[in-house]
Amino acid sequence: MAELEPTLLEIIKDHAVGLTGEPSRETPIADLGIDSFSVVEIIYEVEEKLGVEVPFNANENPFGDMATVGDLIDALDKLIKK
């Protein structure tokens, strides 16, 4: 996980259209301004940059109960390792 975290954080930052300042694991997801487009874009970027296929279905909501950027990184990590 440790080696993926900086990359995931960078991807999230690129698509956090409402973010001001640097995100960290503690940044609330609500502060990122992530919308329905961003979720699709983040998954795509993860797949392109890491060369993996994320088993994500846009009709489901695998990120539903997350509160912080750390939760999002962990959820992405779990999807990547599926």
Partner: protein
């Protein structure tokens, strides 16, 4: 009214260009990977800062949605309406496009075929022809009847006419009505070029030396409002949409038909009493192609008879190019400007009379004329015709 056009990216700038007889056509090179072509086009430059001010989702939308949003913003502001919860439920949004997100499609194919990469994940959400209409419903909280119209070069006129019918039916009190087009990219222009109907220099409607059409980009959006609804709130009513005619030739995908064009104009005029044809302005479809211009001329003659010689007829495509689906949107704005200001915009690049095109095309210079009725003709590939008619209130 809202207009984002090659002549100007607001109604005021568009008006200035139209009445000055300015031609926005220029040759430009379009590239895609190792391919390129250079053709005359009518592009819009300098919109980057305004696009950055749009909502985060519109900033990532295809250009055709962005142009529609900019035009709608101007129209909404001018209307003075406050799109609150109650009005949102009674507002329709009919925004058409002839083709949709063509440059996004192009980029997807370039990505796949030239770079062996998947298309961008938002490709579908960007290319769907209803994207512009949907973005506007989100921006203004519109919850009434909303969809995209697509009828090639008649799209904008159909969108305006269908919106008026929805208001008349009682389905809505207010409507965003218009169309947008933004296909200036390598793949689309090669496809148009392959039809051999693009001019290789400029657009010269009704002139004997015309060589074809020139593609432009842009959007024209009106805010239509039920008359008593507008009067009750003391709105500044620009004009009345007094007539709308639509039909189909039912004959050929490419060749236009005199009877179809004349029929649509007659339907648009059926509730309008024309006592003096010299006070009628026809914003012609006037593509500058070999076949359209004499066919439209014959259609106008068949509708107006002896009165045809007194009409002022012009094709402003000679200045802003052919905006395809959006043509009926910005040309409705043009018709309304002529009606309200008593100035008929010219057909520029006109320098050789054609015996088959023998009306007053207002050659090269605008002229003052007190206009009582203004028509906007749109005749599409596929033989689908739509005509809007505007009167002073």
């Amino acid at each position: 009214m809202g207009a984002v056009t090659p002549l100007g990216a607001s109604v005021a700038d568009f008006r200035e260009g139209l009445f000055a007889g300015r031609c926005a056509i220029q040759k430009r090179e379009y590239k895609a990977d190792r391919f390129s072509l250079t053709v005359p086009v009518a592009p819009i430059d300098g919109l980057e800062a305004r696009i950055k001010e749009l909502s985060p989702q519109l900033m990532r939308a295809d250009r055709f949605s962005q142009l529609a949003a900019l035009a709608a913003e101007e129209a909404a502001t001018q209307s003075g309406l406050e799109f609150n919860d109650a009005l949102g439920a009674r507002t329709a949004c009919i925004i058409g496009t002839g083709i949709g997100g063509q440059s996004t499609f192009d980029n997807g194919y370039i990505s796949m075929l030239c770079r062996e990469r998947r298309p961008h994940p938002l490709t579908i959400l960007k290319v769907i022809p209803n994207a512009a209409a949907s973005h506007l419903t989100i921006t203004y909280g519109v919850r009434g009847p909303s969809f995209a119209v697509s009828s090639a070069c008649a799209t904008g006129a159909h969108a305006i006419g269908v919106s008026a019918e929805l208001i008349k039916s009682g389905a809505a009190d207010v409507a965003f009505a218009g169309a947008s087009e933004a296909i200036l990219c390598y793949g689309a222009l090669e496809a148009w070029k392959a039809m051999h109907i693009l001019s290789d220099e400029t657009c010269r409607p009704f002139s004997k030396n015309r060589k074809g059409l020139v593609i432009g980009e842009g959007a024209g959006v009106l805010v239509l409002e039920e008359e008593s609804h507008a009067k009750k709130r003391g709105a500044d009513i620009l004009c009345r949409l007094a007539g709308f005619g639509m039909n189909a030739d039912g004959k050929d995908m490419i060749n236009p038909d005199v009877n179809g064009a004349a029929g649509a104009m007659s339907l648009a005029l059926k509730d309008i009493n024309i006592s003096d044809p010299s006070r009628v302005y026809v914003n012609a479809h006037g593509t500058g192609t070999l076949l359209n211009d004499p066919t439209e001329t014959k259609a106008i003659r068949s509708v107006f008879g002896d009165g045809a010689d007194a009409l002022a007829v012009s094709s402003t495509k000679s200045m802003h190019g052919h905006l395809l689906g959006a043509a009926g949107g910005i040309e409705a704005v043009t018709a309304i400007l002529a009606l309200r200001e008593g100035v008929v915009p010219p057909t520029v690049n006109y320098d050789e009379p054609d015996p088959e095109c023998d009306l007053d095309y207002v050659p090269n210079e605008a002229k003052e004329r007190d206009i009582a009725v203004a028509l906007s003709n749109s005749f599409a590939f596929g033989g689908l015709n739509a005509v809007t008619a505007f009167e002073k209130v």
